[in-house]
Point group: C2
Chain length 190, copies 2
């Protein structure tokens, strides 16, 4: 049974702030790393449409009935286009786990947003929602937020989908695909 | 040692003949199915640049020193933009194996090309180059052409990279990525 667990992993492509929008890729993976499908959409750089776009992308696909969990690479796409993790969970019915390899530096984020985003207070509200847990995979810490399941189950699923390095395969694959399509060649990441 | 064998798989995205060009994706995979990198380029629909574009794409990437073999899905991209398998081998130094699930219908190809491609004879010359072998994987036949290695070694590598269905993972992944990016959602194929 274990190997029939599927997860959706979300990551965005490299972008420049002069761009209007950025490519976002979703990979449906059967544990631990068998790719079963690819989704793609675009969200605005520093926009506010990430949560809604992801809900529409996933609910509009056949994968909505297959994914046990959605892994996101952090909780922002295209700069500060924040993913409301709780909104993504309730909007899709699929539990959400955000994964960061670096501890979120809330002060720096606040300073950066305050400079050029008039609605920075609302965005901070989204960022500060939920609790950040530290999980150790491959002897290194990752920083995790969870909506829709308990942290132990999230840790078990992260372990199930992590093959090398600290990122689960669905995120690693989405990162590679997005970068390879937009840049012509993906760069390593583990 | 077996698991450190890497292959590059090439496939194109869905396209319409009204389009000028079509996306082509290359996936570098470590046997049997660990994705290590993604490349992308574009070739003209019904054009003649496929071989040159693939050589440039692969030689310009760090993967040229890693791939033991290049798998291509058939020997045409974007309609009748033919891949000269021998040219791809000699241009990259990497042996090439083209894989088709359907037996090539040379007569139909000739008829279709003759209708709207003035240089159809040159293209037929490329298509008719090399010998087509039939290999049985997963109890079903696939049709294979090989340049730069013997057919037994090609069969061994195909087996090494085939997880489910008849297509080796590097081709299956490239197909899924190209379709998912261009269409927004990939469709199954095995």
């Amino acid at each position: 049974m274990k190997t029939m667990v599927r997860a959706m992993g979300i990551d965005d492509a490299p972008f420049e702030f002069a761009h209007e929008d950025v490519m976002v890729v979703g990979s449906l993976v059967r544990a631990p790393n068998y790719l079963e499908g690819i989704l793609s959409t675009r969200v605005k750089v520093d926009g506010t449409d990430a949560t809604e776009k992801l809900i529409r992308l996933i609910n509009g696909s056949r994968f909505v009935h297959q994914a046990r969990v959605i892994f996101t690479d952090g909780a922002a796409l295209g700069g500060f286009n924040l993913v409301d993790l709780k909104g993504l969970w309730t909007g899709t019915g699929i539990p959400v786990v955000s994964v960061s390899r670096d501890e979120p530096d809330i002060e720096s984020i606040r300073d950066a947003m305050r400079k050029h985003l008039p609605d920075w207070k609302e965005r901070m509200h989204i960022i500060e929602g939920g609790e950040t847990h530290t999980i150790t995979t491959q002897h290194k810490p990752i920083f995790v937020k969870v909506e829709g399941m308990d942290i132990r189950e999230a840790g078990r699923l992260l372990e199930l989908f992590t093959v090398r390095g600290r990122l689960p395969e669905p995120i690693r694959i989405s990162h590679m695909v997005a970068a390879g399509i937009v840049m012509g060649e993906s760069r390593g990441r583990a």
